[in-house]
Amino acid sequence: MSEKRFIDAIRDGLREEMAADAAVFLIGQDIGVNGGVFRVTDGLLEKFEAGRIIDSPLAESGMVGVAIGAAMNGMRPVVEIQFADFIFPAFNQVVSEAARMYYRTNGDFTVPMVIRAPYGGGARGGLYHSQSVEAYFAHVPGLKVVVPSNPHDAKGLLKSAIRDDNPVLFFEHKLAYNTVRGEISDGDYTVPIGEAVVSREGQHISLISYGLSVHHCLEAAETLSAEGISCEVVDLRTVRPLDTVTILESVKKTGRVCIVHEDNLTGGVGAEVAAIIAKDGFEFLDAPVQRVAAPDVPSFPYNPGLEDVLLPGPTDIVRAAKELAAY
C-alpha cells in the first residue's frame, strides 16, 4: 500500500497497461509532449515507442472514429477527450457506432476502447469546461460508464476498462486529480466494473453517489453523525451498469434515500436510481426519495459567485438528509 494522488493512480494505470499489452495505445489532444492539459499523461511519451501516444488533430469525432476502427482491428485504444464537454462532437461515433458494434454484428466484432475525460465544476471553467456528461451515456445499451471517486478505484477500474472488450467511458473529476489522495494496493490489481461499494456504513439514511460527490457525502455524513443521524454512503463507481443489489440492500437497511450528483437534476443518473428504488425498493421506503444535484441550468457559469451558488455540496446534502430524518 502507498498513498497516491488521483492523477498519479490514473497515470500508473495507463503506464502499466501500456507496458503489459502492446495493443494499448493513447490518442488525444495535447497528450504527447505536453502531457495533456491536466498532465495525466505527463512523462509517458518518453517511455514508449513511437505511435503509442498520438497527439490528435482537433477533431473529436474523427479521433473516436479512428479509435473504433483501430479497436476493430485488434488494438485497445484509450482516447482522452480534453474536457468531457467536448465529447459531444463525437456523440454519434460513441452512441451509434461503438456502443452497438457488438450487437449489430451479432457478436462478430468487439470495440475494446476506453474514452477518458475530465468532468465537473469548481475549477472556474465556465459553461464548457465544467460539465458532467455521464447521464447521456448511462442511457445507452452497449456502453459501460465508470466514475471513480478515489485513487485506488480509479486505477483498478481503469485497468478493468482497458481490458474490457466493450467500449467504456471513464470520467475523472478534474478537482480530484490533485486534491484527492488515498491508499492504493501494490502491484497489478483490478476493480470490477459494475460493482458499487459501501464507503461508510450507516443506519438511518443511504446517501448514494459517485465520483467527487462521494466525498461531499462522506463530509455530510460526518457532520450528520455529530447530530445523531447515521448515514450510509454508497459509492456507485459505475453508473452503467448499475449495481442494483448494493443499492437495494442499503435501502432495505435504512429506508431513507438521498441520491447525490453534480450533474443537473432532471434526467440525471439519480433519476434512474430513484426509479429503481421506487419499484424494487418500494417496500423498504419510509420516506420520499430525495435527490441532491445541480439545478437545471446549463452547467456552471464562470464568475465564482455564480458558480458556487449552483454547485451542490455537503450543505445541500445535510439539508436533504435532515428533511429525510424528520419525515
Binding site: V66, G69, T105
Partner: protein, 331 residues
C-alpha cells in the same frame, strides 16, 4: 489506344477481365432480383447498385482480397462479392436470417460486415465509416502489417464532417488507406449541385496533403488502374489516395424511393448509355475475350446461382425471437 493494349496497360490479364465481368454480372443479378423481391414483399428493403458494378468490382479487385480490409457502404455489393462473400450469404442478409454472417438479421439488408473476410461492419449513419477506416489502417501500421484498407462511400456522404476528419487524420499519419468515392450525382433526391459547389470530390484531397483522382466509373480498366496505383502507394508507405469514380444510379435510391418524383425519364435513359455492363461486354467481345455463347452461358449460370440462393435463404430460419435480447455486451 488499341483496345487490347488497354487491357495490357491496366495490368490485368484476360482471366482477370473475365472474372471482373462475372462479378459485375453477379452483382447486377443480385441487385435486380433483390429489387423484385422487395416488389413482391418477400424482402423488405434493398439499395440497388445497378450502374456502379464496374466501380465496386474493379476497385476491390485491386486489393489483396485476403489480407486487406474493406469498409463498405450499402451499395458496395460488388466489392463484397470480390472480397469473398458468397451469393448465399448475401441472400441470407437480404432476408435477414439467422445465418446471415453480416448481422444475423439484426441490421437492414445490405449493411455489410464480416470479420473473417476483413469487411468492417457498417451501420446506417453515413460518413462514420471514414475515420473508422483510418483507424483500421492505423492499427495495421502500428503493428507493422502491410494491409491496405479501402473505404467506400457516396459523394453525398462526403459532405459529413466525418469525411473531413477521417481524411485529415489519414493524411497526417500517411496511413495505408484508399478513400473510394462513388459519385453518382445524387444523395437520394438531392442533386450534386445542392450538395457541394465543386462537383468533383477528388478535388478535396489536396487540402489533406495527398492525391485525388477522378475516373470514369463505367470503365473497369480505368478504375482498376487508378485503385491499383493507390493501393500500391498505400502499401509502400506513400500514404492515402482519394479515388473518385463518376458513376450512375440507374435505379431509385432504395426500395422506399420513387425517383420519378425528382428525375426525368429522359435523364434516366441518357444515363443508361453509361451502364458499365453492356459497355464492358462489348469491350470483351470486341477483344475476343468473350463470345456471345459463353456470355449467354455465364449469365444463365449467374442467374441460377442467385435463384438458388434466394430459395435457400427464404427457407432458412430466422433467429429465435428471444435472441433479440442477447449480445448487447461482449463477455
Amino acid at each position: 489506344m488499341p483496345i487490347n493494349s488497354r487491357l495490357n496497360e491496366s495490368g490485368l490479364d484476360q482471366k482477370d477481365a473475365q472474372s471482373i465481368y462475372r462479378y459485375m454480372l453477379l452483382a447486377r443479378s443480385i441487385s435486380e432480383k433483390s429489387w423484385l423481391l422487395t416488389r413482391q414483399g418477400r424482402v423488405l428493403f434493398s439499395m440497388p447498385c445497378d450502374g456502379q458494378e464496374a466501380a465496386d468490382v474493379a476497385s476491390a479487385y485491386a486489393l489483396d482480397t485476403v489480407t486487406d480490409f474493406i469498409v463498405p457502404y450499402a451499395r458496395s455489393l460488388g466489392a463484397m462479392l470480390v472480397k469473398g462473400m458468397t451469393t448465399q450469404e448475401v441472400m441470407l442478409n437480404m432476408f435477414g436470417k439467422a445465418a446471415d454472417p453480416n448481422s444475423g438479421g439484426r441490421q437492414m439488408p445490405m449493411h455489410w460486415g464480416h470479420k473473417q473476410l476483413g469487411i468492417i461492419s457498417m451501420g446506417s449513419s453515413v460518413g462514420t465509416t471514414i475515420p473508422r477506416a483510418s483507424g483500421v489502417a492505423l492499427a495495421s501500421k502500428l503493428r507493422g502489417q502491410n494491409a491496405v484498407t479501402m473505404v467506400y462511400f457516396g459523394e453525398g456522404s462526403a459532405s459529413e464532417g466525418d469525411f473531413h476528419e477521417g481524411l485529415g487524420f489519414a493524411g497526417v499519419h500517411r496511413l495505408p488507406v484508399v478513400f473510394f468515392c462513388n459519385n453518382n450525382g445524387w444523395a437520394t433526391s438531392v442533386p450534386v449541385s445542392l450538395q457541394n459547389a465543386e462537383p468533383q470530390v477528388a478535388k478535396r484531397a489536396q487540402g489533406y496533403g495527398f492525391p485525388g483522382v477522378t475516373v470514369d466509373g463505367s470503365d473497369p480498366l480505368a478504375i482498376y488502374q487508378a485503385v491499383k496505383a493507390a493501393v500500391h502507394r498505400a502499401r509502400s508507405g506513400g500514404g492515402p489516395t482519394l479515388v473518385e469514380a463518376n458513376t450512375i444510379r440507374m435505379m431509385p435510391h432504395s426500395s422506399s424511393d420513387d425517383h420519378l418524383r425528382y428525375r426525368t425519364q429522359e435523364d434516366l435513359e441518357n444515363e443508361r448509355k453509361l451502364d458499365p455492363i453492356p459497355l464492358f461486354r462489348d469491350f470483351l467481345i470486341t477483344t475476343g475475350i468473350l463470345d456471345e455463347t459463353s456470355d449467354q452461358e455465364l449469365q444463365e449460370f449467374v442467374d441460377l446461382e442467385v435463384e438458388e440462393a434466394i430459395e435457400l435463404a427464404d427457407a432458412a430460419p430466422s433467429a429465435a425471437a428471444e435472441t433479440a435480447f442477447n449480445g448487447v455486451y461482449a463477455p
